[in-house]
Symmetry: C2
Subunit: 342 residues, 2 copies
DNA sequence: TCACTTATCCAAAGCGCTTTGACAACTCGA
DNA sequence: TCGAGTTGTCAAAGCGCTTTGGATAAGTGA
């Protein structure tokens, strides 16, 4: 069922039917009602390709997911972010098109999306400290919102991020207040912007307490369970092992817990952990009492908001870049306690 | 840069340029080369909406992700499946459009995709034992491939699934061979087809050994960490607790491990676990020595293959439905051992 | 040389929609 | 009664591409 056929059945022109359906004022309420009834009856939906061709808008948003050989952060967080963004899109009748590309092809993927005209805007995932994509997107002139930030970017751009620096500063301070002095950081890859900012927060808190960061206690790797385990084993084997760990992901924290238990230590008594909890809906940090003390932020909510920002930007492309900084909550769970006496 | 402009610059007709680019034989190799060079130079890419309008093909595949109020299985598995499917699509120049809908709106979402003409085919995720979607998709006439199966479906359809029944039968037999007799099953929601099949496999293995399934040992819930933990606590509190657990997901297994350790038991000695490992790329089951004994299958590979099947089906819509059953490997890790003497 | 292929290329129609510009039909005040 | 202003509707152009059905030029065999 297309416009032409529908209009023929109604004995109206395509123009009128189109206008009736799209809420234009030039059509009487009587005909509008008739048209709408017929559209519902025949289950008519405008063909999006044709509409897109005519309007120049694709009514779709692109998400480019970089798939490194290393499966960096983007993966676990991704599903929830998408779910959130999807909610926003479906409310606004936008589609979401996903492109999964290897790092090397990413630039080309953006150009392609632009030239093919499949999307009206793009959400950029997993920004690095120095990320070439924002310059690229400026160049090709496609509205975009970054989930995260690129610390060394020079051009202005819209972003939505968690206050990673503040979160880790607070987490570190929290541990310091509990008397911990040897606090390790098991971070994600520090080429990723969020990881870089978290380290800065950690260092800032130490500095406030007059402590110098100890390179032996600062690890940076992909945030997998296995890496969390390995890192923690290594730390526990040190001559002066840490009394507390900060991990950049809930998944690393689980690995850390495994190493700690294997080592015969009791979590929250012999050693403390604070993790960052991305609050993935399918992987909750306990229920009533959180297992881990954590800095928590909802990825899903981030997805919702980032998508809304982008739709806004598309509606009014000349607006100055919007930015939004979400604060993570510090949730006290069972994995932290006062530093053990030595 | 569009076809018209490009053809003007080349001094050729749009027809010729289009044909040169699309590999038609009616154009000389000399002009073809010239056209291709110009296209590259101007970074020309055909507008997909226009092409779609003209050809009737969208060059996109729809993935409808049902987001229940309960965040059922689909979530953790989803990212990897998508990554695999994405690889297939990008090789074939297809886009992937994602629709995230609540269960209630799902039927409408399919109709909408069809009527709007945004996709050429659909991948169905997370089928239930009795799933209305396959009848629906038959009705609206959109090619589709199901990731999983719907046991009670009557119409034929294309699917790709892991042999869940066999996997759990083998896992159960493995435990039985180790001398275990009280084996618990911590399953996903058994409305989901995969969970239903897993239970059948478990029961079949028990039956082979002359054992009747004990309802007290068969749990069925969403596969979260917290649920795995709670279920295991409950099981350990029984008068005759199980000596082995079968869990339907790696994530539940982690919860189970937590409960076991909290209970002062040693995993692999006092109690055994076999889990199903969906082999999510960002959440590996250990590295050299797997932490858990598991039935393992690659979700990513499933994504790749399911996508390929769908593209096939789209190319030749009249073919008889294709099906593919992947076998899970049984990987022996550190979480299983002989049944403890009583 | 002529009729006939064959190799190249082209003009124009059509995909389904939006949107511009025009046109009847009607209302209303003078 | 007339001209101006509204209202409700329409025909047709255009979005960027593919594809049908020629047209033209070049090559072929008798």
């Amino acid at each position: 069922m297309n416009l032409k056929e529908l209009s023929e059945r109604l004995g109206l022109s395509q123009t009128t039917v189109s206008r009736a359906l799209n809420g234009f004022p030039e059509v009487s309420e009587a005909t509008r009602a008739k048209v709408q009834a017929a559209a519902r009856h025949y289950n008519y939906r405008p063909n999006m390709r044709a509409r897109g061709l005519a309007t120049g808008r694709a009514m779709a948003i692109g998400h480019v997911i970089p798939v490194s050989s290393k499966h960096e952060i983007v993966n676990p967080v991704f599903a929830d972010f998408i779910a959130g963004a999807g909610e926003t899109y479906s409310g606004a009748d936008y589609d979401m098109v996903l492109t999964v590309v290897s790092d090397a092809d990413e630039a080309d993927a953006y150009r392609k999306l632009r030239a093919k005209g499949t999307v009206d805007g793009i959400i950029v995932h997993g920004p690095k400290v120095t990320d070439s994509r924002i310059a690229l997107l400026h160049e090709i002139g496609l509205p975009f919102v970054v989930h995260g930030r690129a610390s060394e970017a020079t051009l202005p751009y819209s972003w939505l991020d968690v206050n990673n620096r503040r979160a880790f500063e607070r987490a570190t301070s929290f541990l310091l207040d509990l008397g911990h002095r040897r606090i390790a950081l098991i971070n994600g890859l520090e080429a990723m912007d969020f990881a870089y900012r978290r380290r800065r927060g950690y260092e800032a808190a130490l500095a406030t307490h007059g402590l110098a960061p100890d390179p032996a206690l600062m690890l940076s790797e992909e945030m997998t369970e296995a890496n969390g385990y390995r890192a923690t084993r290594r730390l526990l084997g040190l001559a002066a092992p840490p009394t507390a760990l900060l991990t950049s992901s809930y998944i690393s924290a689980i690995g850390a817990r495994r190493a700690i238990e294997e080592h015969g230590l009791k979590l929250g008594r012999d050693i403390s952990i604070v993790t960052h909890d991305d609050e993935l809906s399918y992987f909750r940090n306990g229920e009533d009492v959180p297992i881990f003390t954590a800095t928590r932020s909802s990825v899903r909510e981030a997805g919702r908001q980032a998508a809304a920002m982008l739709l806004d930007l598309i509606a009014d492309p000349d607006q100055t870049p919007q930015t939004r900084l979400l604060e993570a909550a510090l949730i006290v769970g069972a994995s932290t306690g006062p530093a053990p006496r030595t």
